[in-house]
């Protein structure tokens, strides 16, 4: 289906035939644009950015590139085309036709999931709004903006569902998305990780690698939903989310690369903060590990409690599945199966079998951790190729947790339980200290000349739509 650009709100959902929804969205749009103006990327409205815009949801056509002023970006509503025979794949409604309308009995659960997911989209734009001022290159600035406009579009996607399927409550929730703001003392974003600042580009790349990956797994589970419009929306969002994680993975990889290059160039084997690459303006591997520890642990929290009634209900009622549900070989009911999780048992971390239905969150977290590890291996390949005896590593899932049973204890990155006083004494060995943050912050000087790049990060290998790194990806007006 072609996207209808003749309308105010581009879409492939035949919006023009639904006057009520169209009017609701048109009423919401000015508020959105105002929000973008106030809390989107700072002082960017005049920039012409070489952006990808979806022009069709078909495989070949969803990436169309051109210079765009961000406020003019065609935020629209695109769903993966419907498969009229789609059935629900799991839970008690398994085998029944997917719902085209919200079932009344699951209205509030579906709404809560969509609101929680939707709230993260504008949140990350808000968190990243100052990064444009310190970009390491035009290539990275363009990628930041690309991520930002797409997060904005993902908000549109969730708002479409709220406005289109949830009546007055949905409209109120859509308004509330623009009223909550990241870090706002009065109306913060719903999830804590989205109220943290993204103060520098190392944090940004870590965020897009770890936290956007959480989003990817959440969207993946929602893409399995029995509520078809949600499923179709999420499936299309996933195609864009992949790019955000790519930005994170390559961004961290390029910082690692630069650290390795500097070590080789200056013939130092020191991977730490002193007497190592910091002398030459790079970010040392140990500091990268600390940032990794922080971002991995707060992102791990986003999966919620290890044992969750809500998650069990969502699964059983066909609202939210597991990641890759249809590829899993089991009964897709989970009424009688168990799942092995790590549990805190009288101050030891042990394996325990629990009802699989209640462990759906934990299973998703397991999938997530496995996926996170793949990128870490690729970063380690860079280090290995440079002949450096150092490896990055994901910390234990019990490390530095704020949610779930492990939030009651402190552990070191290996998962060994330690006392609070030991944590207080040693946490700066494992987490970015104020000095580390100040150092990274001191590197954040803008580089905006085409083809130039900051000294703490290596240039990218890849191209954007066949344009090399030297291309003028952003024109300042």
């Amino acid at each position: 289906m072609k996207i209808n650009y003749s309308e105010k709100i581009p879409n492939n959902v035949n919006l023009s035939s639904d006057r009520r929804l169209q009017r609701a969205l048109e009423r919401w749009q000015p508020g959105y644009l105002k929000w973008w103006d106030e809390l989107g990327p700072e002082k960017s409205t005049g920039h012409e950015v070489y952006l990808r815009t979806a022009v069709s949801v078909e495989k070949e056509g969803w990436a169309h590139f051109d210079y765009v002023k961000m406020p003019d970006y065609r935020w629209g509503i695109f769903l993966t085309p419907s498969d009229s025979d789609r059935t629900i794949n799991f839970g008690i409604h398994k085998g029944q036709p997917a719902w085209q309308e919200v079932p009344g009995e699951y209205r509030s659960e579906l709404r809560r999931l969509i609101v929680t997911q939707g709230d993260t989209e504008p949140a990350s734009v808000e968190q990243q709004r100052l990064l444009g001022k310190t970009c390491p290159s035009l290539y990275d600035l363009r990628n930041l903006f690309q991520v930002n406009v797409e997060e904005g579009r993902h908000l549109w996607a969730m708002v479409y569902l709220l406005q289109g399927y949830f009546g007055r409550d949905g409209r109120e929730e859509a308004e509330a998305m623009l009223e909550r703001h990241s870090g706002d003392p009065d109306k913060p974003r719903i999830l804590e990780a989205f109220n943290e600042e993204t103060p520098d580009w190392l944090s940004y790349f870590m965020f897009t690698y770890f936290t956007d990956r959480d989003g990817n797994f959440q969207l993946g589970s929602l893409a399995e939903s029995g509520f078809d419009p949600l499923s179709r929306t999420c499936r299309f969002m996933l195609t864009e989310e992949a790019h955000h994680m790519f930005v994170g993975e390559t961004g961290v990889g390029r910082i690692v690369q630069r650290a390795c290059d500097l070590m080789k160039d200056h013939k130092t084997e020191n991977t730490g903060a002193t007497d190592g690459v910091r002398q030459y303006g790079g970010i040392d591997l140990e500091t990268i590990q600390k940032y990794l520890n922080f971002h991995f642990s707060v992102s791990t929290d986003l999966f919620g409690q290890e044992l969750s009634t809500n998650a069990a209900t969502y699964y059983n009622t066909g609202i939210k599945g597991r990641f890759g549900e249809t590829k899993i070989n089991d009964d897709h009911l989970l009424h009688d199966s168990s799942y092995s999780i790590l549990e805190l048992n009288s101050e030891k971390i042990v394996n325990t079998e629990v009802p699989a239905l209640n462990a759906v969150n934990e299973r998703l977290r397991d999938d997530y951790i496995k996926d996170c590890d793949l990128g870490v291996r690729r970063w380690n390949k860079i280090i290995e190729d440079a002949g450096i005896d150092f490896r990055l590593k994901l910390p234990h899932r019990a490390f530095h947790r704020g949610i779930g049973q492990f939030s009651e204890i402190q552990t070191d990155p290996e998962g060994e339980i330690i006392t609070q006083s030991e944590w207080d004494r040693r946490h700066s060995e494992w987490m970015p200290s104020q000095q580390d943050q100040a150092y990274v912050q001191s590197l954040m000087q803008p580089v905006t000349e085409p083809g130039k790049i900051a000294g703490w990060i290596a240039p990218p290998r890849g191209k954007i739509n066949r344009h090399p790194f030297e291309y003028e990806f952003v024109r300042f007006n």
Partner: protein, 549 residues
Amino acid sequence: MIEFNTHPDKYQHWTIDFDCPIATLKLKVNEDGGLHSGYKLKLNSYDLGVDIELHDAVQRLRFEHPEIKAVVLTSAMDKVFCAGANIKMLGLSTHAHKVNFCKFTNETRNSIEDASRFSGQTYITAINGTAAGGGYELALASEYIMLVDDGSSTVSLPEVPLLAVLPGTGGLTRIVDKRKVRRDHADYFCTITEGIRGKRAENWKLIDELVPRSKFEQKVEERAIEFANKSSRPTDAKGIALNPLNRKIEENRITYDHVSVEYERQSGIVNLTIHAPDGDLPTDLESIHAAGANYWPLAMARELDDAIMHLSFNELELGTWVFRTQGEADQITIIDQTLIRHQEHWLVREIILNIKRVFKRLDLASRSLVTLIEPGSCFAGTLLELVFAADRSYMLDGTFEGGNEVPAMLRSTEMNFGPLPMCNELTRLQTRFLNDPENVENVRAEIGKDLDAVFADELGLVTFIPDDIDWEDEVRIAVEERASFSPDALTGMEASLRFAGPETLETKIFGRLTAWQNWIFQRPNAVGEQGALKLYGTGKQAGFDKKRV
């Protein structure tokens, strides 16, 4: 055995911060601190143990802290105020425990309202996160509800859609009766799991004030001070310590200083005897204060309260409670006169209010209550209420053969004519004589005088007055016969007969708890294999029998 005595030093779930004239009661439930095993008290959900601490705190704030004029109820958890009663706990509990639990929590909520209304210690609630079910009901017991306007904190009563039961702590009654929320708004509110937040919660009167997150603490303090400024409590008085009860529990007996309890397990009977004090009694405020928790009317009431709670929860099969008194009626008369003379004083006021609450708890007990009036007894004034609280009373006409005691007498004091109302806000005498209100005046005309059995019978104060020939058989047969009836039918019958007269918030709450909630608690739609309460937390969906009854 469930223990009702505790102390702030032992609290696991609550902390009290004092910032005179404001106290803040903060809830942070210890997940692993449940009264029984098998559940974790997540998200500030509670079980009976949490409420026992709350009950203790409310009592201590009244007696130990006259300087506290407003109490703020809030949570020490981030984003969660209170998730209500723990559902896993309810699922694992017997029906009897569920009912007792609901009743006890209701009595605690009522005592909170009693403190706001009569003690000059006003409760306000600062909802700083999600308040669901019993969590919101806790807020409803306070006089003023403040909700943080953070875009996500909600109040909710999700029992119907989530659990197929009713809010068990007066929620339905309080929203329409106390807060006067419109019934259609209430209907909508009670059928959504996610609750209502922000402006709509305020517009619908579910809360009193919506406050931005950054100003929350400051506003709460301001409001608390405003309520404190209206208080009738003294500023410079010293409280009295509620010392631990002197109690000895044996297999078939509990002994306190002024109350003794003996079981006849075979016949399901408990004999409760209240002993009047000997010797000189304090009559001025200074010596009352010096006596503190040892002052008889306070000590006796605390002991009786403990006995009632203990028997209600721990001795389910002892279905008939038989009350007796022993001692000098003159002593009780002196005490009553002293209390009435100083009733405006904060401490004496608290002592009277406490007696009132204990007797209310007795009215609500799901046990048959029988009072026996024998020679040597002292059914005067405060203790005369035990005659009126009973389902039936027997007064010996004359003396037992060969005994040299004087015949039993009844004596009324001012305490029988106002300070100790029932849940229906009438005195027990008014409730007794609904048919003939003038008879209350006839009794009053005899105030302070000893009334023998024949006169007491004539005034309608006792049920039967057997003489010593019939006494033993009459009493024995009555008690034995009662023990043979269905306990359920008896409880229902007694509760229906005890609360004649007007409905009040409290009678409605308890009446509906008994009738509706307890019925629904038994139904397969809630507790059957496919019931919503049974399946909650498993993720499985309840199956309902769709027939309306």
